[in-house]
Every structure is written in C-alpha cells, then in structure tokens.
Symmetry: C2
Subunit: 565 residues, 2 copies
C-alpha cells in the first residue's frame, strides 16, 4: 500500500499520522510545496504580536521528527502540479530546482487547504500588501514591522500605521497583535458588521471594544486602491508605504497592509484532474471523505461538507474540522468504515479582553436557507456575580419552533464565553433541545459559574417561549412594531432617567401590580427592562391578570442598544 | 391555592419564585428559621478570605425585594416545628419570642437543606470549633479570625493557626481562604485522599499543590479531641485556642477549627411527619419531586434522587441540583407535569491556582455498585501549547466496555478544566459515547483550546481502546503486573536518566523499529512514556510487527507518579 498526501499541515500531516498508526507497513509520502510541514497557522498572528515570543514554537513537527516517530517520507519544496488518475500518478516539481518527477499512489489524499483571497484592486501586488497563511508570510510581515518600529524608536519617523482589510477572525487577531506592538491600526470591512460567524447584535459589543481600544473601524467600506508613497520622508522603510484609498473617500497612509478578506479552497489541482467540485467551489466528498474518484480522498479547507442544521454542503476553513476530517479519511484509506457527518462551523476569537464566537447556524444563514427558527437573547455573567472577575456576556440562542432543537448559538463577553459556546456546540451535535438545556447539570462553584448556568438559563428562557409562558418582541421591531402599543419600562426610575427607549412610560416592577388596575386590557403592552428578567416577571403578572397582548423585549435594553447602536 | 415553603435559600426561594411566575394569584409563604433568605452559601468561604470584600454581596434577596418583585410572604426567624399532614397544617415557632402558631397549606414544599456533621468528639462544642453553613457561621469565624490577626499585627502573639477537619470542597475552600489571610492551616482528612468526587490519581496533584502552598495535609488521619488551651499567653483571644489532638499522635494548637466533615440531610421534620425516607437517609421523592404524601414536595440537599449511571438513589448536596429540583417541584405544584430525571454529582473546586472536579460516577462508586467500566488517562494542555498561559491537565475518563457510553469523568489542572468537566457532564446527561466525543466540534483558537480538543482526545484514546487498537496497563498493576514482562521506556535517554520506573529498559521511540528485530515476540511487552502518546505509537508498531501481548501504560509516567506518589 502506497499512500501519497498532498499538503503537509493540519489535514495532510494528520492523514499521514493516523494512516501510519493503522498501517505500519504502508509507504506514506507527504508532499509539501512550502518549507514547513505541521506548523501552527493559527499561532501566526501572535508571533507578529510577540505574544508567542519564540518562532520555533510554531513549528510542531519537522520531516525528521515525523520520520523518527511515524516513519513518514516528508518532502518539502515539492509541489504537486498534476494528477493523472488513470495511471494513478502525481507529477511533482521541486520548487527550488524546477525539476519535475512523478510518483505513483494506491491512495491519494488531497489536503491543499485554502488560499487567501486577493481582490484585483489597483496596487494589490505592492510588497507592503501582505496576506497571512504561512510561516514565510509571517516572517515578511514581522520583518517589515520590526524595521518600521525600529525607525520610529530611532526618531526617524512618526507613528507606524497599518490597515487590515477584512474583519473576520484573522483580521481581528492581526489588528490586536499589531496594536500590541504599538501600531495605529485601521480595520476596513465591506459588510456592516465584523465577524461573519455571528449576527449583528453579538458583533456590536466587540465593535465597541475595538473602537474603545483605539482601533479605527470602517464598516460598510471597501478598500479601493493601494497607491505607492515612494520616497516620502526620504527614508528606506518609508518607500514601502502605501496610501490605502477607501471607497468612503478616506485615504490612510499605511506602513503595512494585511489582506484578510477571506479564503477560497485550493481546488485547481483537483479541478484539472476532473474531480467533482461542490456547489460552493470546494472539492466534493462523500461521508467517507472520498472524492468522486475512489482512489482519491480529500480533507481540510479545500472540501465541502454537510451542516447539522442547514441544507446543502458548506466550506468551513477551520483547524478542528480539518484535523478530524483527515483522521476519518485516513481510516477509510486504511480500509475502515468511518463516517464524517457534518461541520457546524464552531469558531471563536479573542479580541483584546473580549471573546466572541458562534456555532451552528446564524439568523442570516437560517433566513437565507428558509429554515424556521425562534430566538432568545440573554446576558448572564460568566460566573457568580458576587465573586470577583466576571462580567456580563451576551448570548443569542436560535432554536426550532417545533421541537426546540438547538440550531445555533452565539456569544460574546469576557469570561466563560468559550465554555458556553462549546456546550452549545455539543448540544447541536447531539441534537439536544432547549428542554435538554434546562436539565444540564454543570459544574458550579463561584469562580466558574452560577447555580443556574447561562446554558440552563438559555434553556429556561427558550423553553418558556415554546411553552407559551413568555412572548417576546425584538429590538428590530422598534419603532414600527411598538406603534399603537403601551411601551412600558419596568426598571427603576433611576435607570429610566439615565436612558430609556423613546416613547416608553416608566412603571417600575415593584409598583406594577397596583398600576395596572386601571389599564385597558385590550391595548397591546410591550415591556422591557435591562436584560429581560424583570420584564418577564411583569409579563407573567399581566397575562395572568387578563391582558390580551403582552410581549417583553428579548434581551432588554442591553440588546436594544446593540441592535440600534 | 396556598403554597407553604419551608426553608428560604437555594431550593426554597427557587420554588417560591417559580411558583409565583406560574401562578400570580396563589398565596405563597416562605418560612425560614434563619435571619436571611436567598443568600449565597457558596460564597461564604470567600468573604472569610476577603476575596469577596463586601458581605452584602452574599445576600441576593431580602424579604422586601421578594415581596416587591414576586409578591412573596417571606417570614424570617420562623421555624417549622411540626407538620400535621392530616389537617394540612404546619406548626411554627418564632425563634425570637418562642411564640407558636400554625399555618395551613394546600401544597407544602420542604427545602430544609442539610446540616453539617458534628462527630461526637471530646471538646467538639468548644466555641472555637466552627461549622460553615450560614451567614451567622461566617460572621463568627471572621470575627474570631480578625481578632486573632489584629492581635498578631499588634505584636501580642505569633502566627495564627487553623485546623480544617475534612478535605471536601468546603474544607479546601476554607483552607485556601484562611491561608490568604495569612493563617497557617492544617487540613485533617480521614480518607487517604482529598476530594471525594474524584479518584486517587486526580486528587494527588491537588494534594501536592496544597502542600506546595504551605498547607499541612494530614491524610488517613482523624481528629480525636479538642482540648481547651485556656489562659495561655495571658491574652483574651488566646483563651479561645484549642489543642487539636490527631489520632496520629500529633497535636496542633489552633486558634480556629473549621469542621467540614460532610453534611447530612435535614430530615427530622419529614421523618416525624411520617414521610418516607430513602435508603441514604434523605427524603424520598418521585420524579415529580413529590414525597410519599401527595400534598408535600421536597427539593434540595434533603432529598435523594436517581443517578444517570449508578443504580439506586443518592444524596448530592449541590446548589445546581437544588435550584433545578426546586423549579421542577414548583411546576408540579402548579399543576404542570415536569420530571426531574437524575443528579450526576457534577462538582468543581478551585484550590489556589488549581481546579479539580468530577461528574458522573467515580471508579470507587462503579466498583461498589458492580458496574463494569474501562478507564483512560490523558494529560492534554488547557489550550494550544505554543500560546502562553497553559499547563498540563489530568483527565480520567470512565466509560462502558460495551457501547462506550460515558460513565464518569474527572479532571484537575490549571486552565480550561471547568470547560472540559462541563462538556463531559453534558455528554453523560445526553447519553453520549466515547465515539461521540471523537466527533465533537469545539471552539478552537490558540487561547482557548487545541484543534483536537482534550475532549476529542479523550474520545480518541477511549475509542481506540474499545476498537482494540490500544491495550492499556495501569499504574496500579505495578510491580506485580509487570513481573515477567519486558518493561520498556520509549522516552528519550535524557528523560530516562532523570527518572524511570524501576526495572524498565530504555528504548527511545526513534530507535524502536530497529531495536525490536531480535526481541522474542511471545514475551509480553509493557510500554510507557511520559503521557501515553509515544508509547501508543510504539504499541501500534509492535502489535503490527507480530508481538502477541503488548500494552501501554494509561497516562504514562505522569499518572504513574500520581498513583505511586
Ligand atoms: C493566520 C491564521 C489563523 C488561523 N486561526 C485559526 C483559528 O484560530 N482556529 C481555526 O479553527 N482555524 C484557524 N485557521 C485556519 C486553519 O489554520 C486551517 O483551517 C487549517 O490549517 C486547514 O488545514 P489544511 O490542511 O486544509 O490546510 P493548510 O493548513 O493551509 O495546509 C495546506 C498545505 O498544502 C500545501 N499545498 C497546497 N497546494 C499544494 C500542492 N499543489 N503541492 C504541495 N503542497 C501543496 C500548502 O503549501 C499548505 O502548506 C487559521 C489560519 C490562518 C492562516
Ligand atoms: C460554605 C458552603 C459552600 C458551598 N459551595 C458550593 C459550591 O461551590 N457549589 C455547589 O454546588 N454547592 C455548594 N454548596 C452547597 C449549596 O449551598 C447547597 O447545595 C444548597 O444551598 C442547598 O440548598 P437547599 O435549599 O437545599 O438548602 P439550604 O441552602 O441550606 O437552605 C435550607 C434552609 O432551610 C432552613 N430550614 C431548615 N429547617 C428549617 C425549619 N424547620 N424551619 C424553617 N427553616 C428551616 C435553613 O435555615 C436554611 O436556610 C456550599 C455550601 C456551603 C455551606
Ligand atoms: C500534529 C499532527 C502532525 C498530528 O499528529 P498526531 O500524531 O495525530 O498527534 P496528535 O498530537 O494530534 O495526537 C492525536 C493522537 O494521539 C493519541 N493520544 C493522545 N493522547 C494520548 C494518550 N494519553 N494516550 C494514548 N494515545 C494518546 C490519540 O488517540 C490520537 O491518535 P489516533 O488519531 O491514532 O487516535 C498534525 O495535527 C499537525 O501537523 N498539526 C499542526 C497543524 C495544524 O493543525 N494547524 C492548525 C491548527 S494551529
Ligand atoms: C435567586 C433565587 C431567589 C431564584 O430566583 P429566580 O427568580 O428564579 O431568578 P433567577 O435569577 O434564578 O432567574 C431565573 C429565571 O429568570 C428567567 N430569566 C433569566 N434571564 C432571562 C432573560 N434574559 N429573559 C427572560 N427571562 C429570563 C428564567 O427563565 C428563570 O425563570 P423561570 O424559572 O420562570 O423559567 C434563588 O435561586 C436563590 O435564593 N438563590 C440564592 C441561594 C442559592 O442558590 N445558594 C446556592 C448557590 S450560592
């Protein structure tokens, strides 16, 4: 048995490693066109930011270590330029010498990953416009940055500026890490929000946090051109500056541009070999990670896989799925029968002191797919409020209106966000409902959670909605949806005076039972408080007192401000 | 409808709150013999340690706030002294005046909690021997401590010493918090390990951490007597000191003794009223949290509930279950049909910089119940090793040998332990198997996890065991079980020279493929490395090369040292 793997990082190295454990006698060759295998792509931004100080820590394995431990034949600087499926051979080119050879295979695993999108803009090929995928990209960015900062320290120039194009997680990680180095950073994003894996109201607090940290944020804005600023300042490193022209009319003179405008699956090789592609442009695979050719498997950023909630197949360029798909591919290559079911797109990002992420489907995705759903918002603290070091987090839970199955969840906040995202992720994968969330028994001590964990709370609120104990209205409904209703703020007078939704009357919860005596019970009542708890209590009072049309604002004024900010 | 609730803290306040939301017109009376309702028992140790500086933060609700928001009639200082089930009345005594009255009920909810165990030892009633259950206990402990520390600061005496009897989570939290205040603390524990919710090898690293922080740890030791040390030093606060005599012969002169030797369910009232008790001495309830009397419900520390893994019913004095049981009780009291399925005993504790906890059944419990199980140990890091701020954690996963269902999990470590415990907890409740753990898609970015999360890794290793790809031997088997085998250390020569299991030969993994050529394939081989990964690779090589009896040490030398420490 001879297994050839194309690409030697997350998916490729994992296919080879697992295949060796299952088959000690197979010949296993890993072909990697770059100069490193098995490196931590995900750590690259943090070495630029000198959070990870030692570059060597990013290189997890070398061809030597993989030979010693796993008897793998890893060949760097070796690009696969063609696949001949009929003869089961691949054509290789040595990237240094240009020499071409061929290699035969019994099983071929395609793990070519994805490539950074480079929109065809004027000046995009300027040397100071960088993408970040590999160790070499990182080295170039860091060298440029170090030089500019050295010049600044030597008093030869002013503040170093960078423009990050794209506010997905790589863009935001780069923004943070450049900021750590003392760079003035602007982030330019085409969409009207950052972070595609979450909906608007969960992105909003992170946007505020970025701005508060001094990052310039340009939403609904495109980078239009990169104009070289040669010679200005008469200094070597100044020559590498570009003027970044935004379609808003603004121009930013930048020492460094990071293009983080998304990735596309690396499918050229597969497409040329006539392998089937999926509707999203990735390599099509079956549940065994096998392509349309029975001798060829694929895994990682280049493939499309089903989603546990959404119809169709999807691209999810994430390290966890790449690793697990690879493990499944290896098992099937070695004659086992293992299925890879789906990718749910669980992702997370640290943005300075905040954490944000999502799992399953977003409202945008469910809308686009025509899948019915219900939504609740809540704002629990990461752990018991009376124990120091916690803060409010913001959770959006999406679930099926029929059986309550969890469809998606998003959260942002400071402490304990990753834990709740993971629990929602497991709930989605296990097919749990919001009623199941009510019953979870999670570890509680004051530094870690609350006796009713945020995950329980999300279950309570959602189950209350499905059982008809709680009717919600949404910040998006305002002002149209509250016209002709009695809009009631049940917070304290002090909270009301500080800020309230225009048009709302103040009826503090403590006085509500008396106040409603003379209210018309047929006029719709729209309640709100700060997070949704007090207005829920008010709602229970009103519906049980005969009010016909009562609803409480999902997530309260907190979510309202995130939606209307 | 008139609902009477006995006890007004975790379960009691929750029954009343939920009942109000379901029934706006019910009369709801909460009878509490203490001077506070709705306080954070779990926060008490941290106010003693001045981690939670404001005492008021521990009191979450007052009778006034509960009246305003929920129209509850909360009566403090009101002890229920008898239940007359035939007339559906309770007899009350005012704890200040001694006045006795009665109150009728349609539904009675018993939420009396648990009481600290006070073993009948000589001197146990000395005023410096404290239990910690309520605000008043905390105030007394803190006053005593503050006085002793003030005397020390004034130079009137030396170091303040405390003895904590019992090394469950309350005992350890007290040990830590007293230490924070500058007290020299000794912990005395009858069992041969700390922390009953985890097995020996998971407790061991926490024991080492305690000792390293300067806590005196006396395992397999009983406190035998408390002898007053009156007048010594001629100082007021000195009069309150006791000599704590241990059955080991040691005597510790202590300024403060904390009795944290477990709790027992408060069932006197229920038992006198003829309500059925369970085999563990708690109040027996059905899945609707209803006692043997159809008008009486119970919830919280006083009840016994089924376990998702173990046979029979169990006591689990924990805040999360108390709160959720109460919510279920309230729903059924209000005419709904809601079931409480089981309590799995998920618990967690912070011990200085470490975190430890467990969920589901321990090996001890499974052994006692005669339930078959398999075990794997692993030591992943809390997040990507190349990103700063992580450390090795120690995981023990217990699962069914037949279908791989997760039966229990325990972990200790520094970062990310709570998250993995919660995921295992959800897996147990959802009935997931180790194969399901392999497939979980958890949130990964370098500060939060690894592309293969510890939960995935636990699934991989356990599934490998069940699929027959990995055979394990256990540290407990040594030395008897390794006699007559070839015991092989596959770590590097440097690691071997530093320490190795006596009797082991050194064959580094990198040289193994060559070394085995002339080994006898019928001699059993017992492999180990530091954590189990390299010896797993070695194992795969040997079994595929025709060795007949190969096993690798579960958890490697790391677990070995925890077992044999
Ligand atoms: C800066 C950055 C940060 C990231 N952060 C995260 C994160 O926090 N969390 C997360 O889940 N994911 C993150 N990712 C994504 C994650 O790294 C990828 O999902 C994962 O690496 C995909 O694995 P892969 O093996 O499919 O592709 P890659 O890891 O990209 O590997 C593909 C390899 O194939 C090689 N190759 C391509 N074509 C050929 C050819 N023709 N011949 C030979 N070799 C070829 C390439 O040189 C490359 O080395 C991040 C990515 C980057 C770049
Ligand atoms: C110091 C400490 C730390 C803890 N830490 C944690 C932790 O980190 N995590 C965790 O999960 N759990 C923890 N617990 C346990 C948790 O507090 C309990 O499980 C929970 O409070 C049980 O709720 P309960 O309502 O059953 O009992 P309780 O909260 O004890 O309330 C019972 C109430 O009933 C009253 N009562 C009793 N008898 C009568 C009567 N006859 N008439 C009137 N009133 C009566 C009592 O005065 C008491 O206020 C801790 C407990 C303590 C003491
Ligand atoms: C590291 C890499 C080569 C994969 O190596 P690997 O040999 O599969 O090793 P891992 O460290 O992932 O460990 C997983 C294996 O160890 C086993 N294992 C882990 N701990 C174990 C223990 N305590 N006892 C026994 N086995 C253990 C697992 O079962 C699994 O083996 P299996 O797949 O045969 O079941 C590959 O993932 C890689 O190159 N990663 C870097 C690139 C990357 O992922 N980038 C994106 C993220 S930054
Ligand atoms: C606080 C206490 C009185 C319970 O009060 P509660 O009114 O049930 O309130 P909680 O804060 O627990 O919130 C839960 C309720 O709010 C609802 N809720 C929470 N957030 C919400 C939101 N954003 N929108 C709508 N509803 C929300 C939940 O659905 C739930 O209501 P339900 O049970 O009717 O479904 C009681 O738990 C207590 O006394 N606790 C202190 C003692 C204790 O627990 N000690 C041990 C741990 S230290």
């Amino acid at each position: 048995m001879k297994i050839v793997v194309v690409g030697g990082v997350a998916a490729g190295a994992s296919v080879a490693a697992r295949a060796r454990r299952l088959d000690e006698t197979a010949q296993i060759i890993v072909l990697e066109r770059g100069h490193h295998v098995s490196f931590a792509n995900c750590g690259l931004p943090y070495h630029v930011g000198e959070v990870i100080t030692e570059r060597s820590r990013l290189i997890l394995q070398t061809p030597e270590s993989l030979r010693e431990a796993l008897d793998l034949d890893v060949r760097l600087g070796t690009e696969v330029i063609a696949i001949d499926r009929s003869s089961r051979t691949v054509a290789l080119r040595d990237t240094d010498t240009g020499e071409e050879t061929t290699e035969s295979y019994d099983a071929l695993a395609l793990c070519m990953g994805a490539e950074a999108v480079r929109p065809p803009l004027p000046g995009i090929d300027h040397p100071t416009v960088h993408v970040l995928r590999r160790i070499g990209d990182m080295d170039r960015i860091k060298a440029r940055l170090d030089a500019a900062l050295a010049a600044q320290r030597a008093g030869r120039r002013g503040v170093v500026r960078a423009v990050v194009v794209g506010a997905g997680y790589i863009g935001l990680e780069m923004a943070e890490n450049l900021h750590h180095r003392g760079v003035k950073v602007d982030v330019v994003e085409l969409s009207d929000q950052i972070l595609p894996p979450v909906d608007h109201e969960i992105a909003a607090p992170v946007e505020q946090h970025l701005t508060a940290r001094g990052i310039g944020l340009h939403l609904s804005t495109a980078a239009a051109a990169f104009r070289p600023l040669s010679g200005e300042g008469g200094d070597g490193e100044q020559d590498e500056r570009v003027a970044v022209e935004l379609d808003s009319g603004t121009t930013i003179d930048a020492d460094l541009v990071i293009l983080a405008a998304g990735v596309k699956p690396a499918v050229a090789l597969a497409a040329e070999a006539g392998l089937e592609l999926g509707p999203r442009g990735g390599i099509a695979v079956d549940t065994h990670m096998r392509t349309s050719d029975p001798h060829v498997w694929a895994a990682g950023d280049a493939v499309e896989t089903p989603h546990p909630v959404l119809p169709g197949t999807h691209l999810n360029p994430l390290a966890g799925p790449a690793n697990r798909q690879a493990r499944v591919a290896a098992e099937n290559i070695c004659g086992r029968d293992t299925e890879y079911r789906s990718t749910q797109g669980t992702s997370i990002v640290k943005v300075f002191d905040m954490v944000a992420g999502g799992t399953g489907a977003t409202a945008r995705q469910l809308d686009a797919a025509g899948v019915a759903y219900r939504v609740v918002h809540l704002h629990p603290s990461g752990h018991a409020g009376y124990y120091p070091g916690t803060a409010m987090m913001h959770i959006k839970l999406l679930f099926a209106p029929t059986d309550g199955r969890v469809l998606g969840a998003q959260a942002c906040g400071f402490d304990g966000v990753d834990k709740r995202l993971d629990l929602f992720a497991m709930a989605i994968r296990a097919g749990l409902t919001v009623y199941d969330l009510e019953e979870q028994e999670l570890a509680y001590a004051p530094p870690f959670g609350s006796a009713k964990d945020p995950v329980n709370m999300a279950g309570f609120v959602a189950a209350n909605v499905l059982r008809g104990d709680l009717s919600l209205w949404y910040a998006q409904d305002y002002p149209a949806g509250t016209a002709g209703t009695r809009l009631v703020d049940v917070r304290t007078p002090e909270e009301y005076d500080l800020w309230h939704i225009p048009g709302a009357q103040s009826v503090p919860l403590a006085t509500l039972r008396d106040a409603i005596a003379d209210w018309d019970r047929t006029t719709p009542v729209r309640l709100y408080c700060a997070v949704g708890f007090r207005s829920y209590l008010a709602h229970r009072i009103l519906v049980q007192t005969g009010f016909e049309d009562v609803a409480t604002l999902s997530g309260g004024s907190t979510t309202f401000k995130h939606v209307h900010h």
